[in-house]
Symmetry: C2
Subunit: 279 residues, 2 copies
């Protein structure tokens, strides 16, 4: 059996989420049925991060064990030919047997886009949250400055029955203005080793209150210390959120093909060369 | 009667075009029925530029004569509250009686977005043409350098029965790389006093052949000289195209309200202040 990893992008608008569910159209379900059409194998895909209905991805990572021996370029071409228009496979590579899209990942990067101008841009309505009043970016950044480091983020998580640790390491937390299709948006960007369920959206919901002057930036620290979900703001809606990147250690994602050897570090895309070559 | 001008943005994906048609959902039809719901008046809206099905707008301009006396801020709020999510009114202002959205306009700016990477970004699929091979941007720009000036553009126009002039003045023609949501796209931007039917898309279709190495940049000049539509390339699909701006002379769009007095010149938006103030 070969272990195949893929970098997958999707528009989450018409999905019930990344994970297979008993009802509705999931990214996993669409990928698995595409894989079945292509290889005749019934396989489970493992995803790096679970994204909710409406949440998008530029670089979700999935892996699958397969008995097929198609070259990775063929796998990518076949998948893209068979997949619906709201999912695309950016890259495919063969990985070590013990590569696990979720467990092997060391960092996830999420970005939440907000339009704080009075009238939203219709073309961006599925990917940007519209808040029709100006937000205080400096106050939001002051709040976000309290996030980096190792913390128990349970105050920002949706309640779960799990008894596992709710401590995560946040590597980066910043907000900035970004120009997208004639609109100047706000991007809230968070990088951590992993995220608790609904954590990014709950942080964003709290930041929206800070940016709107309803709360003090220091409230972010208060939520962390309290470990009480009721102290945080509401969960922001899903459609503003995108899983932008997933990072793996170089030795784990060591490529078997020379053209996909570069690992994504920061903004360098591991799969850039592969994407360019497999037109 | 007051003459009211609006700056309108829309996602053209689910419209048959900007103009009213006997069948299907047009931007004009949606605006007119919204206006009817709001004011109880049955009015015709005049548009600055006719956009086809699938073509988008950031700043289409429309005007309407009305007996209503609502303040412009109320007009904007009411329209945005009543309009579907794929149309938005960015600004409203009262204009002189002789202001005509189409006849008074002195410049239109169109932008066509192309993704020439092997795999398209799903989130942008309704606004960007995907060409899965790299395009030669320098060759495309060399071709575009022949467009500025006063020319008979009939070779780039879809055949029409009209006997009116097909001469237009092109003010700007450039292509450049633009970063949109993690994807590096190509933007083809054209500014002219006015455009013939399907002209931008036919220029782009020809440029795609130039960028793909199928034609020489000088072919653009050959099409202009020949005045023969068969010399041009195919008409590029509509979804990559956006009407980005419409410019009016300062004296014609002289604002009646101080907060909307700045006219859009270049990238300065006439309505910026109004948009900011009417949250």
């Amino acid at each position: 059996m070969r272990n195949i990893a893929m970098r997958v992008a999707y528009d989450g608008t018409h999905f019930v989420g990344s994970q297979w569910q008993s009802q509705g159209r999931s990214v996993q379900g669409v990928l698995e049925s595409t894989w079945n059409t292509f290889t005749r194998e019934q396989k489970r895909f493992t995803f790096a991060g679970r994204t909710d209905a409406g949440v998008h991805a530029y670089a979700q990572v999935a892996n699958v064990y397969t008995a097929s021996d198609y070259p990775v370029a063929t796998v990518q071409r076949a998948c893209n030919a068979l997949l619906p228009a709201d999912v695309a496979v950016y890259a495919v590579q063969e990985v070590a047997d013990d590569f696990h899209a979720r467990h092997s990942a060391v960092q996830r990067r999420y970005r939440y886009l907000i339009d704080d101008t009075p009238v939203a841009q219709p073309l961006l309505r599925h990917a940007v949250l519209h808040v029709p009043w100006p937000l205080d970016l400096a106050a939001m950044q002051a709040a976000m400055d309290m996030l980096p480091g190792e913390h128990d983020f349970v105050g920002f998580a949706r309640a779960m029955k799990s008894t596992s640790s709710t401590t995560r390491i946040c590597y980066e937390a910043r907000c900035y203005r970004i120009r997208v299709l004639e609109q100047t948006l706000i991007a809230v960007e968070l990088v951590a080793n992993a995220f608790l369920y609904a954590m990014v959206r709950t942080v964003v919901g709290t930041l929206l209150q800070v940016g709107s002057g309803q709360r003090d930036p220091s409230d972010i620290a208060a939520v962390l210390i309290s470990k009480d979900r009721r102290q945080a703001g509401p969960t922001a809606p899903p459609h503003g959120l995108t899983l932008v990147d997933v990072v793996y250690p170089p030795d784990i994602l060591a490529a078997t093909e020379s053209r996909t050897q570069r690992l994504r570090i920061g903004n360098e895309d591991i799969f850039t060369e592969s994407r360019r070559d497999t037109a």
